[in-house]
Amino acid sequence: MKRILILLGVLLLPVGAWGAYQGLETYQDEPGDKRQGPEQPIAFWHSVHAGQNQIPCMYCHYSAERSEGAGLPSVQVCVGCHAPGSGALPPEQAQLGFPQATRNKFWNAEATKLVDYWRRGEPIPWVKVHDLPEHVQFPHQSHVRVGLQCSTCHGQVQNMELVYQASTLRMGWCISCHTGEMELSPQEDATVRQRSSYIQGVRALAAAGSDVRGVDTRWPHQRASVDCTVCHY
């Protein structure tokens, strides 16, 4: 009986391992990784927009510095570049400026999809890539404000065709940056330390002669608060 059960467990092991590999795959972050994110309703390549054409992140993700959400570009923003002039027009009159004979069939088909969404007045149902775990709040604006680069968390988006989740977005990963254990580039680290309200608060307390021993001992390079209610409420 015992053997049978152990055998069963052993037989199940490769199945489980394969599943675990599938499950963990998304969370790997290795250089030169050729992973692709999920299929999107339109073959939107960040490598073309952010890489080749050098469009700043916040041109499309417009609320990252003032809201908890980074913001998704409206269909109008897409159309504004791809069918210039038609953003101001009613969708029926939108000119099909984008599909051009000089481009290949694939891209023209994708562009037609975009224009069709615009004409139908429908939002593009993008597939969510960066999925934060439940019961946690992440304010983009606070992190942008202290000078963190988008790529620190989102990876080299300008090199990705279909964007994938470059970081785990798990609590240990978040905390490792807050405690200062995660390495940042020297300039980024300096900016963050200069602007962090947590560090400013500790400095003010120390300047006022308060006892701040508890603050330093655990993580000498702490950058931000690690109190639970900062993210969980």
Partner: protein, 1056 residues
């Protein structure tokens, strides 16, 4: 398994297999991100957008700010610059978002044909149907048989309805039960206030404004303590807040007013009212001797057929004339008569549910069935809408453009805060469309395509962009908020001329008929001789003599019936909001159902107990309702709150409780005002116990000194010893709080036993970095009126689920903040039933005390309950595994467990606050001090590169409180408002002997008479005696000396 397979091996094997299987499961649920097609200029996703509007849940007209997230209204707050709300709101206002998202709203126009299911139609079809029927009636020469029964519109809608009705040759009748009550009384600086049944803290006049004025009037915080006398046959919430209750013989309230005014002889008044002559004499002396004395009334509880006499006496006391209150019921009574006679072919109804609110004796429902075309504009499927043949649901007020004139100096604007949830249409637009179909040139000149919004803009004088934008931003035009109690009468700022007729009471085509016969109440001297034609009288089911004589069914009608409006449901129009149903009544603490208030002596005489079902019969109807035994009602009176007992009104409220209006007759005072206080009923016990009635909390304090009080004289004597008062601040000599503050809030008190070592050195419990923020709250029990607006605001802000009546009866309600109401202080439950129990009632907001030395924290096995560096007692939902040890160890019982994953029926879930986690089954939760608001304030301050000022953070309860009971802030800063308030000589902390070091400091209630004190008062109140002794022993003079022990008992000794 006998061959060696052990339990442990089995578990090992299974766990390996299980783990691999679990790992193999990969979620394939794809989440989508939906962008805007065209972005809104006003919306940044994730950042709330605020709109100004005006609350229309009752006639008070409070200014409102509505928080919207991505185009959905989630929370309402008072508009701080509007003089009526002053930034505050009541529970009904807070719950208005639940009306907006109510799952049972009418979702579009419907036509109901005889014997068929209601059929959904288009708006064009509905309007054409209505226009066609009107034209048919007009061409048949029966245009006058069309009647429009409306609520008391003011402003633009009033004018439009009048124009419209005139153009089609119909007539208009106005019905709005509690509309005509004065909303511009100023008594914040009065030192004597007397109310004749006017429940101004609940529904009468302008409750939010009046609650604030009431708190100011009697606030030692600002150096004044006025007296409030309540004259009525029972004590609703307003009565419980009175310093003195005078209960004259039913029907004789006007005589008390006249005796005080000096127009009748005190001795004869005493004889007729049953009130002692010296009491009347004293009241008269106090009233005349006051610096500023104000009288109010009549309210619903005293609105008998003598209401006009009472009104006259009250006006005389106030030294001015005022408009008659209570509206004019005579046109409506005439209309009902004509409906019954088949003379009305079409009735359009935009009044609030008349089938429910009108007295049963009037027979409105039966009369309505005789009208062939019945058109409802109700937003909800209430009893009236369900009886109508054409349902044209109006927008909820948070979806519409409108204006409203609550009082002459305030012209309030209602603006839409989001797109309509359902396929509803504004009634004004429906009327304009129908006018276009009918080519009514006076209503729609040139048959243009103007919308109701254009019509409204026109009425506001058009106005160019910026001026109009400013009005919209302010939410109307009105004077500035008066600065303080002494400037309340001064009205600053110019009021722009009002284009339409404000508060028009005279409706087009309204026939001014004479009063029907009015049955007088026994002992009433002031009945004016009726002058009505006899035919009208005999046609109505009105008892012509004493109402007592005509009832049937045996027994004797010994009890006078009081039907009074509900703080939570008003006239019943908000009775379908789950938050308000789950909010226990402020007086009885009964949620979800109705009750009849019965005096303990009467209950004993009838042999009934609390919760036993009574059968109450009047000449007009009968109801079966559980008894609530309560000394705040006269022995010869039975009181039932209106609001519940709906036959239709959505899933939450149908067939719940009883409708006491069914017991009433169509009685009107000589002025035409509705007189609900004119029926006598028989009351009988049935021997059945109600499964519905559940009273939350305890009526007595069990000697725990939870809600403490101090007499005014004792407080003054003590203040004289330890420091004089400066208005606005209270100089602190309170040793305890001083010590507290000096240590950033929390130094554990040394206890003499071994656990004194707790908390052990180095642990964080109760010890904080000096100089850091320490969030704390001061709750002034003296200002608290017990209404529960804070409770509803907390539900709205924190996504607290409604658990429903069955779970509530198991004590599983989730209200993070509750109002405790105590009639007694000792362990003797009988104390709460004695006649003097309601003379010293204590209200106490109870929420998580955010203890520095919190008992919940060390018992949590997973560290879900822990302390933040800024002093919050936090609960991490992800960690919580639901052991409930914390709740069991909490001495304040403020932790709540999710027994189920409670549902928010669609679209109620649109109201959920996106900044707060929605909890699920198995998780413990409790007050967080609105940590999401603290974090938001912190983020905003950081974005601007400055430290957070504690005044930027306002928890939802603090924000909405009409009486401004709460002070919130950083107690570590000695200059903060909360530290200054905590330094009051009245401050104490609940169950301090437990060494929990709460962050909430309560201020004792101040009573005019000597307050009741429990058996542990000596220990609990000891600090006052101690401080007094140190300052020369002069404290506690007079009758209070015996309460003060010269030494303080050691903490923890002797209690419990």
């Amino acid at each position: 398994m006998s061959d060696g397979m052990k339990r442990r091996d089995f578990l090992k094997t299974v766990s390996v297999g299980g783990a691999t299987l679990t790992a193999a499961c990969k979620s394939d649920g794809v989440e989508r991100l939906i962008p805007y097609v065209v972005p809104s200029e006003e919306i940044v996703p994730g950042v709330p957008t605020w709109y100004s509007t005006t609350c229309r849940e009752c006639p008070a007209g409070c200014g409102m700010h509505v928080e919207t997230h991505e185009g959905r209204a989630t929370k309402v707050e008072g508009n701080p610059i509007q003089p009526i709300s002053r930034g505050n709101l009541c529970a009904r206002g807070q719950a208005s978002v639940q009306g907006l998202y109510h799952p049972d709203r009418l979702q579009g126009p419907q036509v109901v044909e005889e014997g068929l299911e209601p059929r959904n139609i288009t708006w064009g079809g509905a309007e054409q149907t209505l226009a066609r029927r009107i034209r048919e009636l007009q061409s048949a020469g029966r245009g006058a048989s069309i009647a429009f029964l409306t609520e008391r519109y003011t402003g633009t809608m009033d004018r439009l309805v009048d124009d419209w009705v005139r153009a089609i040759g119909a007539r208009r009748v106005v019905y709005d039960p509690y509309q005509d009550q004065p909303r511009n009384l100023q008594f914040a600086d009065a030192d004597f206030l007397i109310s004749f049944g006017a429940d101004f803290l609940e529904t009468w006049g302008s409750p939010v404004d009046y609650a604030w004025q009431f708190a100011q009037m009697r606030s030692p915080m600002i150096g004044q303590r006025g007296k409030f006398v309540w004259v009525a046959p029972h004590q609703p919430l307003t009565g419980l807040n009175a310093d003195e209750w005078v209960a004259p013989r039913p029907g004789t309230e006007a005589l008390v007013a006249q005796a005080i005014a000096g127009t009748v002889d005190v001795n004869s008044a005493a004889q007729q009212t049953g009130v002692q002559a010296q009491v009347l004499q004293r009241l008269a002396t106090e009233f005349r001797g006051a610096r500023k004395a104000v009288a109010m009334g009549p309210g619903q509880a005293t609105a008998g057929s003598n209401a006009s006499a009472l009104q006259a006496a009250v006006d005389r006391l106030n030294g001015r004339a005022s408009a008659p209150q209570g509206g004019d019921m005579r046109p409506l009574i005439q209309l009902v008569q004509q409906m019954r006679a088949g003379q009305v072919q079409m009735l359009l109804i935009s009044a609030h549910n008349p089938v429910y609110t009108l007295p049963g004796g009037l027979g409105f429902e039966a009369a309505l069935r005789r009208v062939p075309d019945r058109v409802s504009f109700s937003t909800f499927p209430d009893e009236t809408a369900m009886l109508c043949t054409l349902r044209l649901p109006d927008h909820h007020f948070l979806e519409q453009w409108n204006d409203y004139v609550p009082r002459p100096d305030v012209r309030a604007l209602v603006q839409p805060t989001m797109r309509p949830v359902f396929n509803t249409k504004q009634t004004g637009d429906v009327l304009l469309s129908v006018a276009r179909y009918l080519r009514l040139n006076t209503v729609t000149p040139g048959n243009n395509g103007a919308t109701y919004y254009d019509y409204l803009r026109n009425a506001w004088g058009g106005g160019t962009g910026d001026a109009w934008r400013e009005i919209v931003k302010r939410g109307g035009s009105y004077p500035a908020v008066p600065a303080g109690p002494n400037t309340a009468a001064e009205v600053a700022g110019a009021v722009p001329p009002f284009a339409t007729q404000p508060a028009s009471g005279t409706a087009a085509g309204t026939a001014n008929v004479n009063a029907p016969a009015v049955p007088g109440l026994e002992g009433t001297q002031q009945v004016v001789t009726p002058t009505s034609p006899p035919s009208l009288v005999t046609a109505l089911p009105v008892a012509t003599g004493s109402p007592v004589s005509t009832f049937e069914g045996g027994g004797d009608a010994r009890f006078h019936l009081v039907v009074y409006p509900s703080y939570r449901f008003f006239d019943g129009r908000t009775a379908n909001r789950p938050w308000l149903l789950e909010l226990p009544d402020p007086v009885t603490k009964v949620p979800w159902t109705s009750w009849a208030e019965l005096h303990p002596a009467s209950a004993k005489e009838l042999g009934v107990r609390q919760g036993e079902i009574l059968e109450i019969r009047s000449p007009f109807g009968a109801v079966r309702v559980p008894a609530y035994v309560y000394p705040g009602v006269r022995r010869d009176v039975v009181a039932i709150q209106t609001g519940l007992g709906h036959k239709a009104f959505g899933r939450y409220t149908e067939n719940r409780g009883v409708n006491p209006n069914l017991l009433l007759g169509p009685t009107a005072a000589p002025t035409g005002a509705f007189a609900p206080y004119s029926v006598r009923v028989s009351v009988q016990g049935t021997g059945e116990k109600s499964g519905e009635l559940y009273e939350q909390g305890n009526r007595v304090q069990l000697d725990r000194e939870i809600a403490q009080a101090v007499s005014l004289s004792e407080m003054r004597a003590f203040d004289a010893v330890v420091g004089a008062k400066v208005p606005g601040t209270i100089p602190g000599q309170n040793m305890q709080v001083e010590t507290l503050r000096g240590h950033g809030g929390f130094q554990p008190v040394e206890t003499p036993t071994d656990p004194a070592a707790y908390p052990p050195p180095g642990t964080e419990y109760g010890q904080y970095t000096e100089g850091k923020t320490r969030w704390a709250m001061v709750i002034d029990n003296d200002r608290c009126i017990g209404c529960g607006a804070c409770v509803t605001a907390c539900y709205a802000e924190n996504n607290i689920p409604v658990v429903g009546p069955d779970q509530v009866r198991k004590g599983r309600e989730m209200s993070w903040l509750r109002i405790e109401r105590y009639f007694g202080v000792t362990q003797d439950q009988e104390e709460a039933l004695r006649d003097d129990a309601t003379s010293d009632v204590r209200f106490l907001p109870m929420l998580c005390q955010h203890c520095g030395n919190a008992p919940c924290e060390p018992v949590c096995p997973v560290y879900a309950a822990y302390h933040t560096p800024d002093g919050l007692n936090a609960q991490v939902y992800n960690r919580c595994v639901g052991t409930r040890y914390c709740a069991n160890n909490c001495p304040y019982k403020v932790r709540y467990f999710n027994w189920f994953t409670y549902q928010f029926a669609a679209p109620l879930h649109w109201q959920l606050n996106p900044d707060v986690t929605v909890r699920e089954k198995g998780v413990m939760e409790k007050c967080t001090f609105c940590v999401q608001r603290i974090n938001e304030g912190q983020r905003n301050a950081s974005l601007e590169g400055r430290p957070l000022n504690d005044s930027e953070v306002t928890p939802a309860c603090v924000q909405t409180c009409p009486a401004e009971v709460f002070v919130f802030g950083n107690i570590a800063d000695p200059n903060s408002a909360v530290a200054r308030a905590a330094a009051s000589n009245r401050s104490y902390r609940i169950l301090e002997a437990q060494n929990t070091q709460p962050a909430i400091v309560y201020l004792q209630k101040v009573t005019l008479r000597e307050p009741k004190k429990g058996h542990h008062a000596d220990e609990m109140y000891g600090k006052r005696g101690e401080a007094g002794r140190e300052h020369g022993g002069a404290a506690g003079t007079g009758s209070t000396g015996s309460q003060l022990e010269p030494h303080r008992a050691p903490a923890g000794a002797g209690s419990h």
